[in-house]
């Protein structure tokens, strides 16, 4: 550093004589420093000139931004109260329009028919109760079998018992499919229907 500034000093001194000489002249110079020029060190980019803005425009811009945010907040608040409608639960308008033409002629049941229906309902009730009781008994039986197996295991070895009653985390989450009404057709190439996504976007 020092050395450079030292040189600079000399250049300054030399410039005066250099200017006098024409540039293209082949000069044999006595001062070795003459062809070198050292620019000032700045250590940073030169400062840009600050643009002066109209304070009114700045104010307006600020205002606009604030309004935009306010609007967003208002919309969010409004949506918070508004629940997402379930289209399936609302009767379609074209059905509501001609509701009267869609009504069927009310069926008049004979007393015998009414009686038969009531009896069938009762029979069904009894059947379902039986089924339920059988199910409960079945679950009891299966649980009893497992209890017995675990008790026997405890007698054989406590370590094995402790391992056996550990929860099986691989089972969670558990999902199961079937049974179906008809068996699957092997190698069936299912025809693809057209798929149009009509779901609406909610929120924001």
């Amino acid at each position: 550093m020092l050395h450079l500034s030292f040189l600079k000093q000399f250049t300054r001194l030399a410039i005066g004589s250099a200017k006098v000489q024409p540039l293209n002249s082949k000069n044999i110079c006595t001062t070795a420093v003459l062809p070198f020029k050292i620019s000032d060190q700045l250590w940073a980019e030169p400062m840009k000139k600050k643009k002066k803005m109209d304070p009114a425009i700045v104010k307006a811009r600020e205002e606009r931004r604030r309004k935009k945010i306010e609007k967003q907040i208002r919309r969010l608040e409004k949506n918070a109260k508004q629940l997402k409608p379930i289209d399936e639960l609302e009767p379609p308008l074209h059905v509501l329009d001609n509701l009267n033409t869609r009504k069927r002629i009310p069926v008049v049941l004979s007393p015998a028919e009414v009686e038969a229906r009531a009896l069938l309902n009762k029979e069904w009730c009894r059947y379902k109760r039986q089924e339920y009781m059988a199910n409960v008994a079945q679950v009891d039986r299966i649980m009893r079998a497992q209890k017995r197996a675990l008790d026997q295991l405890y007698e054989v070895s406590e370590d094995l018992y402790n391992e056996a009653i550990m929860p099986d985390l691989q089972l969670i989450p558990y999902s199961i499919v079937g049974p179906y009404a008809t068996p699957p057709i092997k190698n069936y190439d299912s025809p693809d229907g057209e798929y149009i996504d009509v779901s609406k976007k909610w929120g924001n």
């Binding site: 079945q138 079998a145 497992q146 929860p167 099986d168 009404a181 068996p183």
Partner: protein, 257 residues
């Protein structure tokens, strides 16, 4: 009184520890692989009747559909056409009626062939494949050597030191049925228990305690060397030894038809 109770529990504990120490029973794991029904079971008499009843009530309470309205409209149009046969509205005639649509739909439906509930194996009476008796639960039964005689029972194997019973079950199934068979074990705990005595004591053991593990069939095939059969509940009673069958039935779902 108090002392007596303490004494009693002490005796009980020591007995148990003692009995464990020189256990004269082999610990064996059996695996019960079940294929769940693929197709829903047939409806019985009352179920059919009630289903029909619910359907009629449903129709009685419903509104007319678009298709029905269209059909009625078609009828009206036809009558008008008949009356004013001189002036035939060509647009109305060339239109496809609701009846036509219905007919073509029925035809298309009739052309579609559903897969038969009766599979190839059902026709041949082949029990070695899981693709049979689609409406029933099937249990995997293999031939196992028990001492000197061979018996048809669930795949089973002896517990080895250092593994849990669940690991034994998984190992046994792979050893007996090959790695091709994929199953889901449903618990770490055994679901059933069975105990039997050897005819003569083997290496100081007088019998075996069998712990059953339950698994659901997921995919793949059993190694044909295992000589396995997939049996329905009814066939199980015929094939399996009586007491063994009862022990297994204890933890299986009973079929109602």
């Amino acid at each position: 009184m108090f002392l007596k109770r303490i004494l009693n529990t002490e005796i009980f504990l020591s007995q148990r520890v003692f009995s464990r120490a020189n256990s004269s029973w082999d610990v064996v794991t059996g695996v019960c692989v079940e294929r769940l029904p693929v197709v829903t079971p047939p409806l019985n008499e009352i179920q059919k009747k009630y289903k029909e009843f619910l359907w009629t009530v449903e129709v009685e309470n419903s509104l007319k559909s678009d298709h029905e309205l269209r059909h009625e409209n078609d009828k009206k149009q036809a009558e008008i056409l008949k009356r004013e046969s001189a002036e035939v509205d060509l647009d109305a005639v060339s239109k496809i009626t609701a009846q036509d649509f219905e007919d073509s739909a029925t035809e298309e439906f009739a052309q579609f062939k559903f897969a038969s509930i009766e599979t190839e194996a059902d026709k041949k009476g082949d029990k070695s494949t899981h693709d049979r008796c689609l409406q029933r639960h099937l249990i995997l039964v293999t031939e196992q050597k028990l001492g000197s005689d061979v018996k048809n029972i669930l795949p089973h194997g002896q517990w080895k030191e250092g593994e849990t019973l669940r690991q034994t079950a998984e190992r046994v199934l792979q050893e007996k049925c090959g790695p091709g068979l994929k199953v889901d074990f449903l618990s770490n705990a055994p679901c059933g228990f069975y105990k039997y005595k050897y005819p003569t004591a083997v290496e100081g053991k007088i019998g075996a305690k069998v712990f059953f593990y339950y698994a659901n069939y997921k995919g793949g095939d059993v190694n044909f060397k295992a000589k396995s059969n997939w049996l329905t509940r009814k066939e199980m009673t015929e094939v399996l030894p009586d007491r063994y069958n009862k022990a297994i039935r204890e933890f299986l779902i009973e079929e109602t038809y």
